[in-house]
Amino acid sequence: MTANDAAIKTNGHEPSYLEYKGKHTGILGWILSTDHKRIGILYLISLSIFFLVGVAFGFLMRLELISPGRTIMDAQTYNSFFTLHGVIMIFLFVIPGIPAVFGNFFLPILIGAKDVAFPRINLMSWYLYLIGGLLAVVAILLPGGPTDTGWTFYVPYSIRTNTNVMIALFAAFILGFSSILTGLNFVTTVHRLRAPGMTWFKMPLSIWSLYATAWVQVLATPIIGITLLLVAVERWFGVGVFDPALGGDPVLYQHLFWIYSHPAVYIMILPAMGVVSEIIPVFARRTIFGYKFIAFSSIAIALFGSLVWAHHMFTVGMSDTGQFIFSLLTMLVAIPSAIKVFNWVATLYKGSIDLSTPLLFVLAFIFLFTIGGLTGVMQGVLSIDIQIHDTSFIVAHFHYVMFGGTGFGFFAAMHYWFPKMFGRMYNRKLAKTYFWLMFVGFNFLYFPMFIMGWLGMPRRYYDYLPEFHSYHLISTIGSWILVAGVLLMVYNMYHSVRKGKIVTEKNIWGGETLEWQIETPPIHENFYDIPVIETDPYQYKMNDEKFEKEVVS
């Protein structure tokens, strides 16, 4: 941090966590710090870099598909690109995403704690994340060529291909371990470190969703760990586990893979839902509608979401009973998700809405997530799934949920908490501009995929029939608009961290949760004295008058 940051330090306050001098100084003060806020920032930086790498691969894939036949790369490169795009975006961006960055930074603050339960394990999980991420990148560069299995590593292909599958497998394994440690930390923190008076139903809703997420991380991730390990052992020593040549059953691999990887999509989306529940009451200036319903629907999503994995495999030849049960359970997940959406909309109803950037991203989240969610229910229907299985319809669906949902949720969180984290404000006008670029670009990019998927365009294909050309063209143009928006956003964030307008107000948005009652940026230990909680988290009616007075003065 530079000298003009001294201005952030306000009279008589302890230095903020950004200036805090511990045992180590300089860069060591960051990479050896066990302060949950600094670890959150470390995650933010590393995650952003990997995100941009993932964006680059996606952008190039789209560019290749702008016209039929070869455009800029050969088929093998294309296969590696969609694999790398998937591995990086899923394991390095959306899964760690909100919990690792904003969870780390704000979970202890929101429950009135000084840190997480195991600060050193927290730092270790960042190192594991970094090692896993670097391994994934190294796998691109080493001889043998980048992995081309898709992010799903389906056997037997992943056993037979000569590309660098081993390194990618170990990368995913290590990232899984990092995710487990974060989950374990958060569960323990929520149980043990809530401030006096903060009962379960006085917790902010983002804590409920992070808590549910953490459980899924702890309970589901080991399965992918062992599954990937078995593939590695099979490749390495030729032990017969999944390989049909040795009597194994590749469908079992798919089951084990999705036992983790389906709950993983709830690891991705639940924290974003928490962010939405946090932001809406602030910018609608209303108490959240249906607090308990939103809280319990997080738990219900985590619970149901763990029992629906086989809907990724309706075409492998399961028993009819199996298909029926998984189809039914899949549709049940829509209920708690819809409960959330209805409650958010009901909170906005008759609110005093302030259309600031965080809320814009949140509204985009609700819109895009609803499209993604409803098309998800369509895929849960057995007969429809046979038509659209492995088509770009699926690709469109999960990008609406994962990018339109989690991605936009992440951006919402960033624009909401940015002033608190850095004590500076981003360019708000520019923020609105790129929000619209991203929103419009997003829909141009992914909506045509619904249509062409429905018409039969398979996913992961390098080439396509001329009849799909116009859809692909629109989609690629959409990717340019979206990427332009993303780059503007990255510029805005990067620039504002160093040169943005300084913010010293504690409560810039008029929020009611604990992070808005502490210094901006927070001091090393968050609170001077651990607060005692007496009220529910979103008491707008009671406090509105007080807030107005503060704003006027």
Partner: protein, 207 residues
């Protein structure tokens, strides 16, 4: 919000219940890690019941039973080590921890002889003898090596963990007022033990 008495950075946090809770959560993840393999085992056992039965005859039940006894005894010495430190009998606790490590080593040596004997007969992944057998038997031995192998790795990790605890007991970091680490190491050791208790019947006793 007065900050007069507050000194930044001196905050020391100790929460034994929290530590134990973290350890239990970690043990859950270990159980599920092995759970994935038990799932595979049960599906393949169902698919190839006869061949599993046949393959299990190759394993030495007496050797397996002996190792089970060794590991169970080591769990006992581990518990006694914790009780000893609770009663402030430091030397006894160290002795019991060392016995635990020794028994773990003994288990591994046995395992080594078991594995090498199999290798000697050509029963190893990719070995000709094994590949000549039926699919069910190949899968049985595949799972046998992977599951006992991963268990073996856990035994080694456990040994190191207990060795660190022994050192900390000696230096006094672990003492009669603060022994949650030793307890957590014990919990880990019991997990290693209980996984073996399931592996033993599933591989050795199904003949």
């Amino acid at each position: 919000m007065s900050s007069t008495e507050h000194t930044a950075g001196t905050h020391v946090h100790r929460d034994d219940v929290g530590s134990r809770m973290g350890m239990w959560l970690f043990l859950f993840t270990e159980l599920i890690l092995f759970g994935g393999m038990f799932l595979l085992y049960s599906v393949y056992r169902f698919q190839y019941a006869d061949e599993f039965h046949l393959a299990a005859k190759e394993l030495n039940t007496i050797m397996g039973a002996f190792n089970t006894a060794v590991l169970l005894t080591s769990s006992l010495t581990m518990v006694l080590a914790i009780i000893a430190i609770q009663r402030d009998q430091k030397a006894l606790s160290i002795l019991l921890q060392l016995i635990t490590i020794f028994l773990a080593l003994f288990f591994l040596v046995n395992k080594y002889f078991e594995w090498t004997a199999k290798f000697h007969y050509g029963i190893y992944p990719g070995g000709e003898e094994l590949l000549a057998k039926s699919s069910g038997e190949i899968l049985f031995f595949g799972l046998y090596y992977v599951m006992t192998g991963l268990h073996g790795i856990h035994v080694i990790i456990g040994m190191f963990l207990i060795a660190v605890m022994t050192r900390q007991t000696r230096t006094g970091t672990i003492n009669k007022d603060s022994y949650v680490r030793l307890e957590n190491a014990g919990l880990y050791w019991h997990l290693v033990d209980i996984i073996w208790i399931f592996l033993f019947p599933l591989f050795y006793l199904i003949t």
